[in-house]
Amino acid sequence: MKQLVAFPQLGNYFNPIRKLITNTTHLKVIEMPKITKETISLGSKNSPDTVCVPFKYNLGNFIEALNKGATVLFQAGGGCRYRYYAEVQETILKDLGYNFTMYQIMEKDHLRFNELYSTMLKLNPYLTRRKLIKEIISTLIYIYYLDNIDIYIRKRVGFEKNKDSFKKIKDNFIKKANKENSIIKLTRLYHKAKKELRKVEINKPKDTLKVGIIGELYTAMEPFATYELEKLLASYNIEIKRFTNLSYLLWQKKLMTWFMKFKVRKYCKYTLGADGLDNVYRVYWLKKHKYDGIIHTKPTGCTPEIGAMPIIMNIAKDNNMPIIFLSFDEQTGVEGLNTRIEAFYDLLKIKKEEENGSKSRN
């Protein structure tokens, strides 16, 4: 029997990762259903209660996949508790009586090629290094293109004339790119999609509100974890800037660290663990680029972000930036979020009008 592979969901990145796994191991990846309330309740029922929310989401994903017949699970690792997720989840799922093997890529702090190669070799003994390198490069390029398209759309999605015209182009790109194995053809597809994106008509007023989303990586990248906060903001006609995406985490972060530490040296002498320092720097960046407000998202109990919060508050206060802290739990009521965003929107609008008014009076 052929083995079925599953991995936790993370926004749109399901497609590039699936492509990497199917092309290297020739195993079938389970088409995961979208995250629903059912997923969270399954996850939180079986996980320790003080753990952060991504753990519960991932566990829910795994249980749903195992019920569908998955036998091979993949989990990654990072700078905080995330690195220890794999073993605890494996123990919990084994205690529940499932039969599977779990592989952790990124057991150490960073992704290492040899580690990944030896893991993949267990699944496909005929895999060569050359093939894996080619597939990794093509996946990274795919992720980079996907992120670029997302960045372009995020800036304009609140002002489109015909609804979902951006989404259609993106879906079309993903659909075609999934089948494309050559890097050159992938690049051609990307440029074509970009051309189409530029043609989409938008109706953008002159002084719109600009808001930056900072915070923990999972709540930033998985739309369901924040109950589609970005869509909500777009409905208010706000231009959004989001920093964290996979291409940032995989390579840009490493190159940026020394620069960020230098820029915010007044507030931070050292790195703060996980994305703490990055978020402090982003406040500075957003002020420099004249954004109107900041939304900080994190799951409840995220230790690195809690450590960074006093410092973020300090730098936001010194720079006179309005900031709102949102903490997300497994609870799925949306009304609380709507009210707070509405109030924040009003606040930003009044502030902007006051600023403009005082300018015109002078």
């Binding site: 753990v51 997720y85 002498k269 050292y270 109990g301 410092i311």
Partner: protein, 301 residues
């Protein structure tokens, strides 16, 4: 010149080393008083709601200490061995304090083995800041390190003596800064001592057995301080009658490592107590009472 040591968090890991080091250099040291409810209230005012209880207490201690001394010693720890990490609160500790108390003078050193900042170079840096030469501070550090070693040997001996007694034995599992804190751990140790129970602390495990014992429960854990807890559980579990796990709310690493302990304990009697902002300890005492009754064989009806 006086150097203040806040009696919370890393104090309970490094107190013997710090005290011996400054004693060698003839620098006066001031410790803050034991944690009281007032300390916690002061700390809560200074910290954000979601930070963990131990960090709130730490900030309270600094608030109490800041007028009494010239410098406050706050280390920053990223990694204690090459492939491991510690809780991210210790990564950010120095910067948190610097941002919440802008006007205090901080004596700071950095331990980050992964990026080649060793403890030794950290102490030399402190010595330099206080006006001592490299040789002087290096000598003081080496002597202090030996005193620290003796301290831990002594703790191991204490545990061995406790294990030999005929009384009921209980392992208290938790970070040293929780177990020894006047507000959190002391209530429980006092209650257990009153009930004639001998207590073994998790930090009393022999240092050289940590790696082996930890691998029996978890192989991939990367929190150095939680490795100590897991290995202590594995090492002592056959030698004691029961285990009490103490955790501050919301402790990041503990939330996962406690889950591993509870899942791998088999039939060893274990109780897990989580502490939030405490105003009285009646609820804790009730649970301890029933746990002790259970250890005695339960109430047979």
């Amino acid at each position: 010149m006086k150097i203040g040591l806040p009696k919370a968090l890393l104090y309970y890991h490094y107190a013997p080393l710090w005290k011996a080091f400054f004693n060698e250099l003839n620098v006066k040291v001031i410790e803050s008083d034991n944690t009281t409810l007032k300390t916690l209230i002061l700390g809560k005012e200074k910290s954000i709601d979601e930070s963990c209880l131990a960090l709130k207490i730490y900030l309270g201690h600094i608030e109490e200490l800041k007028d009494k001394c010239d410098y406050i010693l706050i280390p920053r720890i990223y990694s204690l061995t090459k492939s491991e990490q510690v809780c991210t609160n210790f990564n950010a500790l120095y910067d948190i304090v610097r941002n919440t108390f802008p006007d205090i003078k901080i004596l700071n050193y950095n331990i980050d083995i992964k990026h080649h900042h060793s403890e030794k170079s950290g102490f030399i840096k402190i010595g330099k800041e206080l006006g001592f030469s490299i040789i002087e501070s290096l000598e003081a550090y080496n002597k202090a390190k030996e005193i620290e070693k003796d301290y831990y040997k002594n703790e191991e001996k204490k545990a061995k003596e406790e294990l030999r007694s005929n009384k009921t034995k209980i392992l208290l599992l938790g970070h040293p800064y929780i177990l020894n804190d006047n507000l959190i751990g002391k209530n429980i140790t006092n209650y257990l001592e009153k009930n004639n129970i001998s207590i073994i602390y998790s930090y009393q495990i022999p240092r050289d057995l940590i790696d082996f014992n930890c691998s029996k429960i978890s192989t991939k854990i990367h929190f150095t301080m939680n490795k100590e807890l897991l290995s202590a559980f594995n090492y002592f579990k056959d030698k004691v009658d029961g285990t009490i796990i103490l955790t501050a709310f919301p402790c990041g690493p503990d939330s996962l490592s406690n889950e591993m302990i509870i899942r791998k304990r088999k039939k060893h009697p274990t109780i897990s107590l989580t502490f939030e902002d405490l105003t009285n300890n009646t609820a804790v005492i009730t649970r301890l009472e029933s746990f002790l009754d259970m250890l005695k064989g339960g109430i047979h009806l």
